[in-house]
Symmetry: C2
Subunit: 357 residues, 2 copies
Amino acid sequence: MINLTRGVPAPESYALDDFAACFAKAMREDGRRACAYNATPGYAPLVELLADQQGVKTDQVLIGNGSLELFYFLTMTELEPGDKVIVEGPSYDRTNLLLKRRGAIPVEVALEDDGVDLNALEDAMKAHQPKYFYCIPDFQNPTGSTLSVGKREAIGALAEKYNVNILEDSPYRSLRYFGEDLPPLSDFVNPARVLRASSFSKTMAPGFRVGYLIGSAAILSRIKAFVGNSYIGPASVTQAAAYRFFKDGYFEPNLRKLKDLYRPRLVRTLELLDERLSCAAYTRPEGGFFIGVTLPEGNRMETLIPAAKAAGLNISDGRGFYLDPSLGERFLRIPFCGLKPEELEAAFDALVPLIQR
Amino acid sequence: MINLTRGVPAPESYALDDFAACFAKAMREDGRRACAYNATPGYAPLVELLADQQGVKTDQVLIGNGSLELFYFLTMTELEPGDKVIVEGPSYDRTNLLLKRRGAIPVEVALEDDGVDLNALEDAMKAHQPKYFYCIPDFQNPTGSTLSVGKREAIGALAEKYNVNILEDSPYRSLRYFGEDLPPLSDFVNPARVLRASSFSKTMAPGFRVGYLIGSAAILSRIKAFVGNSYIGPASVTQAAAYRFFKDGYFEPNLRKLKDLYRPRLVRTLELLDERLSCAAYTRPEGGFFIGVTLPEGNRMETLIPAAKAAGLNISDGRGFYLDPSLGERFLRIPFCGLKPEELEAAFDALVPLIQR
């Protein structure tokens, strides 16, 4: 069975020996602090390192048990039931679910190849007075699309005009295989109304569960109070190891290694699409984990999922990424990083004959 | 400044070299799994080990980011605003706060030297139809008192009679310095209505944030669904290290070492109380982290806290452990584990002259 489902790092990508060395050094050099309760905002050396890297003050940093959990806490402190939040269509299914669980109302604005449809975004801001716009600007999940610089700038202006806060979620940002980094969306937004979420799940390992929010100290102070009361703080021995991973020079070579591992997988997947599925429309991402594929009309998840399964292939239900599931009937998310090139080929061998043209 | 405040392990108690060895082995032997997303209920080998140890099935285990966080999730899935929960008076301040944050109504039942006042408990169950009784039976926080076997049995019967679920919180249970273990409270309760919470925070280190719930699969299944949606799962590299700490025979010798470290601190604190504060009433715990002291009448937190501070001693505000703060005006929690005997003596040197007799 080949899993073309969850967006997970390649199992062979984990720098296990380096992680072990970082844990050992964390225990040896700062073990008493790393092992103690480390209340919010997190293990102090990592908080300081992140603040330095991001050019912010330490009160603009909050570390949590993965960035998803911090998003959950944000829904608890920053949103009330009935509040509107603009999300991209399609978007990360888990954040949509957390918004709904809070009783907030996600409002979907369609994505284009270069990010959200600006006219639709302004219309939605005007019509719904949303509190937040949840945006994944770099190598978006699930489409792989990247927001253009022009749109970043425009979103900053719209946020100000319509009094909307921005949550920029960018876990994939540093995994760019081609081209040049764009400035983060948050660079274009009034600092008082923006948070940026990221984590080490894709650049080290998800099992560390070290995620963070960077941004408005005022918003973070409310989330921090909630977090401290909820669980004192996230695991700090993992934060101490992540700190050593940076401090001792493991991070950058590891990132290069990851890019060298994933780049050919992206290239091969695009080749396979060009060669064997050119009837579909798809993004051409320059990084990240995902390629979003829109299959030709006539394809439906209801029949494709079981047919793929019978052919030895698990696919994600494209309807799950849309608030209006019918919009995802033909949407296929290809998480290319977790599969070896030969597995990607086998996935296409299974998939291609099932596609209606 | 001496801190007689939070109940934290002694910094010198952490088995740093052993922890480093466990992380290294976890990375070497099962690194790919430990580093991946490990969805609820947790890292499978640790889930299985806990199930084995506790004599339950694996669906009766849930691992979280510390047991406090699991308590928070329980408040979200098992309680509705307005639901009543019986708590001990005094009790752990953070759980009282989480109950209130949920909009639940904690109802305080007074503690005696051998645990909760049974008549008051039955009256409260009759009057309030609570959903849960939150009980810390072993070396209670903040009093250090231990629930007698007779009362454990009676509580099991009352829970059944009044249809109340039991949450047994026992993080200190394995830290017994004298005497014999009592059977867990959960042994006397209908298995369908009981959960037991514990963690490795006191027996390994808080910075691992590995806590767990054991008990009713039906209750746990609701909490698990909520947890999975909230953050996928807690850190698994720490769970993998905790697993190795057991599996490779580190846990038991470390527990003996902790007991040998803490036993003399308990003895010394009781001696100091007997010698220098016999005007107060206090528990004589046989384990755990805390001795609860009720100062003579006339003492008040409002004056004692700043006076202690001026004398170089931070104390916890006793009022914080009671729902009715006035009950805690004379209540002093002594967390004896985190201080060396000479620091305990210095704490008494600072404190004793301030006490009204």
